[in-house]
Subunit: 275 residues, 2 copies
């Protein structure tokens, strides 16, 4: 059965890495939820905005597939760009919609983990003071409603590029949010923190860029797989990403790419059929 | 309150028109549903596949906005590429998910119409014989469950390019499906048929191309607005599309485009702020 993961939070969970800055991840053992059904994944997975792109979820899943050759991973995209923690209150649309999507996914998968990245929209005006308690209510409700009381929750930190330029300059208290996120992961059961140390941003100063999203996903996988706090870059993350990129594609994956090329008018029907 | 429209069916409702073959429709009075919330629309609206593109929904909504300057339109994208009528059975994921999405939309909109385009996947093996009865069950259930017993249903015909080339060549009985669709619209209350006459396809021989999707949307609007069967191209559809394309954008719309350009790294923060 598919092992599924709920993606929630704001834009850096949805993914804003530019699509053509890194090689695409094409893996027939990674699925994504669309219209309540599973289909083979391609980025953007979490299409909350027209500018959605590379997120951490694809390399998280790709790393999983490398280590566990029998598994198939399903991604449930429910992150919403710009959302504050208050937008995730349990009677709000984002929370309710994420629950609804997770329930569709759970009809044909085992919900295995929750991937959370959020906090930029709470990095000002002293909101860090109530972040921990608000997040606790949300996480407890999610685990209760979906009947997964012990499901692991992976929480990524905010990037050190915040507070400086572009839209990121308004996140002046991002370090206080990071403190809250890390404290939450250390104190709450089955929660693991993932450091954003060393990650770099798009020119907008707020969104993790494509290559950094790839590394971030590997760190999320490490946290999940080892059930450990990841407080610094992985010593093997560059090598691991190279290994993932070097994998030979299966015939199904090659045909998937050809069919997209055909649907987009890039190759002829004859070329498609002959290959 | 937003007037919302449920988009259901298969790929030609989702939209496969190439994105850059026609000018984008940027209209602050057209919204789309994402994560249970409304946001300003941009195509692709119905992101069921990575190759999703221009659909009929955008020009349908744009024509509505031109005629009714006080209205805001909301699009609820639930079409699924390749889906047969059997995939839309009422206890299946597609139907249930569409109901779920419609209910989220209805919290902050008035569900005003249902846009249906489907049939390519039923254009072989004698499936036309049971199409009418199966569709009736689906439509009645949808109106019942959403408590909109008299909501208009607009049903588009299949293109005459089918049955010939590419993936379209397998739709050998598309004319029989068209007969069923038209009969359905003529016999059932508050149903209107929209002819696909004269529309052209992508090189794949099955998907309505961008410009034809624009005209198709205008025909859907005509059917809805006049509560009439549209059995041929509109005499004014070329002129109407030109009028829509010529509309001056509002400051909000211009800023929307600039913010996308910034998020995609195409313009600098300084340029964004200065404009």
């Amino acid at each position: 059965m598919i092992k599924s993961f709920l993606m929630i939070g704001q834009s850096n969970m949805a993914g804003r890495g530019f699509l053509y800055d890194v090689p695409p991840i094409i893996n027939e053992r990674i699925q994504m939820l669309r219209n309540g059904r599973w289909q083979m994944m391609i980025e953007p997975v979490n299409y909350d905005r027209p500018v959605s792109g590379v997120s951490l979820a694809a390399s998280f899943a790709d790393a999983w597939c490398l280590k566990y050759p029998e598994d198939t991973i399903g991604l449930i995209p429910c992150a919403e760009g710009g959302s504050s923690l208050d937008n995730w209150v349990i009677d709000g649309e984002l929370f309710q919609h994420a629950v609804s999507e997770a329930k569709f996914a759970m009809k044909h998968s085992k919900l295995t983990g929750i991937l959370w990245h959020q906090g930029e929209s709470d990095s000002a005006d002293g909101k860090y003071k109530v972040y921990y308690d608000k997040l606790l209510v949300i996480v407890q409700a999610l685990r209760d409603i979906l009947n997964v009381p012990e499901i692991p929750l992976i929480i990524g930190g905010l990037g050190d590029f915040l507070g400086k330029t572009g839209f990121g300059q308004y996140c002046v208290e991002y370090e206080r949010i990071n403190d809250s996120l890390q404290k939450f992961a250390f104190e709450q059961a089955n929660c693991y923190f993932v450091s954003a140390q060393g990650l770099t941003a798009n020119p907008d100063g707020i969104h993790v860029n494509s290559l950094s999203q790839r590394y971030f996903g590997l760190r999320y996988f490490e946290a999940f797989d080892k059930k450990t706090q990841v407080l610094a870059p992985l010593s093997h993350e560059v090598e691991l990403l190279d290994r993932l990129s070097a994998r030979m594609h299966t015939p199904t994956e090659l045909m998937f790419v050809k069919q997209m090329d055909f649907a987009l008018g890039k190759i002829s029907y004859e070329t498609l059929i002959n290959e």
